[in-house]
Symmetry: D2
């Protein structure tokens, strides 16, 4: 990738992937962002968190979210381009992830509502009863501004990762539906017309097996609010996307799938968004590199552009290489998910391989994004610390990507589990064999095997080092698959 190429996400995708599904759509979408979306996105970030109008002037609870002007313009651009509906038209996730890459290059946070809407539609389509699907699915697949949005609300205030014990939202049967009562502490895309909600049916055990997945519309059948929003949260990034605390009081809900499958369905939802998070992280990394490069070739110091100083040039080259590797890893996660996303439990043998790659990708791409964004601030120097010049925004966004959909710890420990319980590392190393340098592969294999012999507690303590090496090795190896520079 030369410097100029850094500024176009579609050109990069094209170079890496060869053929792009819907290339004209992607080109038009990118062009719109470059021309119109970019300044709107900057203005929306400057305007900060949206605002919750809780009551109308007559005292009726309405919980209307007031966005900075322009946010809806940005938002509908992606829905119209097909972040959701194309998946159902083409029976492939690829068009959505491609659009997500372009979105994330321009506005990393905005990809979030698309992903949760897609995850909602997929879960509904796979696990909804016919009548529930007939009623709600078409709303999520509209192609105009009347499209409904989805959301995925799992975690609660007392714990993020530990869903099994932390979910206190209760579900009670109520005729052909359920009633939910409880609250969600980090409800992204609050205000969505349909939400996937993890809850515990009465009598179910207080562990992950006791969870079920429900579909909760924003409005009750009688038109009343079906959930309330206690407040919107002041996040450091993705400021325009409302993350709220949501309360359910006997809220109407529809269970998706069987109760025993609940945790599997929840994991399926997370699969989609973890892969999206990886794609978004790589795109954000490209954005940082593009901004840093365009600055470095213009900013003068000691008689020449700073981009021509050997130290900065070397750092840029190394970071570009790392980004390209990271893309290969993230795209492999897409490719594997494409093979398993329509499966239902019990899954095929590919599923554990996918899960390991997804954990590696989620962990590693976010790490790369954070480190690159932090470096971008250094490149900008003093103005990197000023909100006015935008680079600090990319770090704020990257920090969110590293936390969302599971912190690094979560990825590492869940990845370890899928290695230990399903031998996913063997599948991975076998998969990489045709592509890898044999000696490197051998070394990596030995490293993993030795690691797995450690006592349990020591294994956990050392997991980050192992995963860093394994992710980096996998990324580097997979890049060969996509073709060299």
């Amino acid at each position: 990738m030369d410097g100029e190429g850094l500024s176009s996400p579609v050109s990069f995708l094209k170079e890496r992937l060869g053929v792009l599904a819907d290339e004209p759509v992607l080109r038009a979408y990118e062009a719109w962002w470059a021309r119109e979306g970019r300044p709107i996105s900057e203005g929306v970030d400057r305007a900060g968190t949206p605002w919750l109008k809780m009551f109308d002037r007559l005292g009726t609870r309405v919980d209307e979210i007031l966005y900075p002007p322009g946010y809806k313009t940005l938002l509908h651009q992606g829905y119209q381009a097909g972040v959701v509906w194309r998946v159902f038209e083409t029976a492939s996730l690829v068009p959505s992830y491609l659009l997500g890459y372009v979105t994330s290059f321009y506005d990393s946070g905005l990809y979030c509502p698309y992903v949760v809407s897609l995850a909602t539609a997929v879960a509904l389509e796979k696990y909804g009863t016919e009548s529930v699907k007939a009623r709600f699915l078409p709303e999520l697949l509209r192609r105009d501004a009347s499209v409904w949005q989805g959301a995925t609300w799992m975690t609660e205030v007392k714990g993020g990762s530990d869903l099994g014990t932390a979910v206190e939202t209760r579900a009670r049967p109520a005729g052909d539906r359920w009633h939910l009562t409880g609250e969600k502490y980090f409800a992204s895309n609050a205000g969505a017309e349909l939400a996937l909600v993890a809850a515990r049916p009465e009598g179910a055990p207080r562990n992950v097996r006791g969870l079920a997945l429900f579909l909760v519309p924003r409005y009750r059948e009688d038109g009343g609010l079906n959930y309330t929003i206690r407040r919107l949260k002041d996040k450091i990034g993705t400021r325009s996307v409302p993350t709220g605390e949501v309360e359910f009081h006997e809220s109407e809900a529809y269970r998706l799938g069987e109760q025993e499958e609940g945790i599997y369905l929840i994991m399926e939802v997370l699969n989609l968004s973890r892969v999206a998070n990886s794609i978004g992280s790589v795109a954000l990394t490209q954005r940082v590199l593009a901004d840093a490069w365009s600055f470095a070739r213009e900013r003068m110091a000691f008689g020449k552009p700073i981009g021509e100083h050997p130290l900065l040039r070397r750092q840029l080259e190394e970071r570009v290489a790392q980004w390209e590797d990271a893309f290969a890893l993230a795209w492999e996660a897409v490719a594997l998910l494409e093979r398993v996303w329509r499966q239902t439990p019990p899954y095929s043998e590919t599923y554990p391989l996918f899960r390991l790659v997804a954990h590696l990708a989620k962990y590693w791409t976010a790490e790369v994004a954070v480190q690159t964004a932090r470096w971008g601030i250094e490149v900008y120097g003093g103005i990197g610390t000023l909100t006015e010049f935008g680079m600090e925004r990319w770090l704020r966004e990257a920090l969110i990507l590293a936390i969302w959909e599971g912190t690094p710890h979560r990825q590492l420990l869940d990845g370890l589990e899928v290695m230990e319980r399903k031998g996913a590392h063997q599948a991975l190393l076998a998969y990489l064999r045709p592509l890898a340098d044999p000696r490197e592969l051998e070394r990596m294999t030995a490293r993993v095997e030795a690691y797995l012999q450690l006592p349990p507690s020591e294994k956990e303590a050392q997991v980050e080092g192992l995963f860093r090496d394994l992710a980096s090795f996998t990324a580097r190896t997979l890049r060969g698959k996509l073709g060299l520079r």
Copy 2:
């Protein structure tokens, strides 16, 4: 350091340094912060950037800075405790750096005004004429709320590091003083009663040799404003400290030292603040570790505090060790500066050694602070991304520390220069010999020598790797000097 110990900066200093100058003062200062200063600091950060009142209601330009209530309370606590006056009373910088460590644990940004005030007083005392000293020095040494503040304004909009070409502020002789005209783009502690300002006398060459250092009071002798503040900047960190764009229009100024010495004097000013930056970075790192630890021992997941999960425990241990190493490095910079700070050009042989250690310390401690703060956000998980829980503030502050007083690039390249031109690495390695593991020292020596044989451009390209190793080695080695855990 056990977990409890993390919460007290003075206890840590005591453990490391054995004897503390003015221990009761430090204890009282810490106690005040723990009890009263801490919530004020949080409120001040929440209130954001101070506000510039440019005109009074009659249309007279006043450039008054309006701080969030409480800021002045914080500010004067440190001046009264002696961040400036104790240096002159004891003829030692140590009391000031100790107070700076405690300050930075509680409010990293607040250390900035103390450092620039101290630097102003030191430069004035060393290089001012008797009449200028008599007029201004006592104002900086007051022990009550009437104390004057200093400031150090060097860089300009067109360039940070490259002072030689970027400084466009001109100085013109005017009787027994000078008139300055120009502007400074990053003027920290704007509103200070006295500022050190780098400017170029008429006719001086357009390189670093053409710079001289001036003392500029806030008010003219006739009482009028002597410099104006165009605006305050919206920084991501140290929000309460006003950083402004400052304009000089025929501003009254007093040259410090001889013109030819200008760049040396400027470097002396930077020496003080780079070392302070290192101390501040280490203190901030302690704060992150303290907050992370106190969270981790209370937050439950999977049936036990997250601090008892092996992965997190290991990470914490490693980061604690890294922080303790970093402290040893920073404190060595203090110790060496203590030996050279009263010297004038030409300096002793210790000076290059000091400079190399200062560059290593500035670079490495800020790096540790940034990485630790970023990890602290991960430990907090979702709430780490919310402004409300404070951890993200430490990352914002750390990012500033990494940029202020010279970016990493600047430290690396200036450090390289002092190695190449003064052989400072030889002095350093000799200095470490009694403390180091002989084989490690040998390896490091070989590594440095091989590196220095590289072609110039390649040398510059690889400098970061070398410095990371050298800093880390030096820090680890020096820790032995301070006594083990």
Copy 3:
């Protein structure tokens, strides 16, 4: 009042009232404000609404209110000076209203917490059982920073004035106490340790007779939160005082007085605060006049200070006179309340007279404050429209005073009721007889009588004109009582 005199609220009180209870206390309090409180108050207003910390980092609901730094300093100054405790020490409201006048001159909004705390203490002392008094009253009467605050929460979202139907908060007996469930939409001084709350016991009628008054502590006996705060509201004035939406969920409560007396007790609470509102409005008017005058004598236009231009001079004179009249009216309300505040239902004959005067005073003083503040903006001209110069703040504060404790409509209609049902106008006119110009009194008497003959609907429609005349006449007449300039 000459111009200089405008700048001292205590000097004005002294001039008007002759002897001041606790004059040294008032002087010291004023001096503190002039020296220290004033800039803090400006900073607090600039910092805006306080901030609600709803959960701690472990996910426990805490509802802690984070104030701008400095707010607590302001707040405790008044409690220490005796806005509450002096009333109980002296068995007189006068010292509190005097302190309230001084407070309101400097920070109109800050008077609010004092008034509601006083009202809480008075109601508790008059109507609490011995055990409840013993437990809570001393907390409200402390003289140091550990003092508890009170609050008075009556209205709900569906209606302000119409308490009889709009109060939906329910009370259920629970042993020796009650449990309250419901919400209050405008809960001033949210976060108070004790609140007076209007609620409807189960089975009570849905009108004003169905209301009872309860005391609700912030914390349950077991230490848990006894009420939650849904959010703080973004008001145009009194920004530093937290007004919240408060939720009760089976909150522990203690009924004050008998159930049948509920509405009387609620009215007694309102009496205290309406009179305080009048005092605050007059003090705010003085502040506007003081600021306008000091500006007008310095700002030059057409060769002389604008205060010497005949038009502005005349306007100032007229507004000063109107303010002095308004003070006389407000102080009469204080004097009458002093006679009735310890009575319990059924009240003495003075009570209707007091009520009419209180309605006139609340209505008229707020009207004067709003009109004067609006004129103050005109005097400032362009800078009057800038937030930076403070005058617009007085209008924001005055607008709040006009609404709080009953809108103008409410005062007018309640005043009409007390005339019609209790003949309070006759008492008033008789009371004014010794002071009034006989012909004016006769005219006014005829005007009132003719008005009261109107058909009901027309009477209501014309009530504002009547009250404006009656208030203005009463104010002008009473001023004579206080002695002339």
Copy 4:
């Protein structure tokens, strides 16, 4: 006007004026606002003041104004509809004032840029040299988003009204143009591509005769910034329109008209905007009434909508009548300006009559707007004091209208001058004779004549009372001309 009619500014204009120029254009414009513009306007007000980007990331001064997203959408709607170009196409101001009325109903502040752009175009067309007109006028008359904006910057920091002494901006001849140096303190529509600027040519006297009017483009001929913006001001209203402090440093300028005519040209500019201010005030009054009415018919108290309570109903009726009168007065100012706006000095006999009516209209319509908006807050009650419900915004906007283009004092004193020096009151009374009730006219005539016999200082002191009566009388009388309800 019935309640429903209040919600449509175009319907009101139609009812009053009978035939509307370009009615379809107005209807479409109103429909766009009702559907799309209104929520954008609310979001823009919430987002606050726009933001000044002073330097780009390379350190080049750019002074770019960053608006909240959506502002430009609003702005261009009016330019496209023809607030400027239609005046030149139709040779009539009427279409612009009609569009201004509709604009002001929806977003009072947004009318400001239209007015100053129109005033710039008119002055340029009347007084520019052919070459200057050829170069700049077409830019102001574009019909698409590339249209240039104008601005009118007269007053300086030391004084608003007193232009004669307060203008310190100096003009120096420089070939075929001028160079301006100085600053303007209230520069509305800062960032405009062309500004009308009052300045004092070297050697000209320090009074109003010494002023000349200049055209100043934003960019120099060489592409550089021709003026800089020191900062944007934080106003209480019209937040989205950038009002800045502007600095000229040898800025390129083109004189309009002859130097001796300067003050006349400046007055012509003010004529246009004072009349626009009147139109805007009346439209804003309609908006308040519309919002209050729609609230009052839905909000329940004591068993019925508050709009059916006699007091509120009566107040609404009286305010509606006052608004309709005020419209008649404002529209008369439009009609008279339409007769004189193309005249050049010396003007026709109609000119003094126009000036008196314009002063009366500016004064009175703003007064009505402020009082109505303040009443609107009362109608809303508690929620009127919350920023969230919008009514308080109308008061903020009205306060600005009362100050802009001359405070009430200015209107009164300038109106008095035109009566005394030109006998404009006689022209006015003669003009009203055919419409007025003869006895009322006689009374008014006597009142004016008696007043004019007062000693000068007393005349000035009493001017507000006279003007209130005269304005109110004129408004009431003129309403007959427009046809009755």
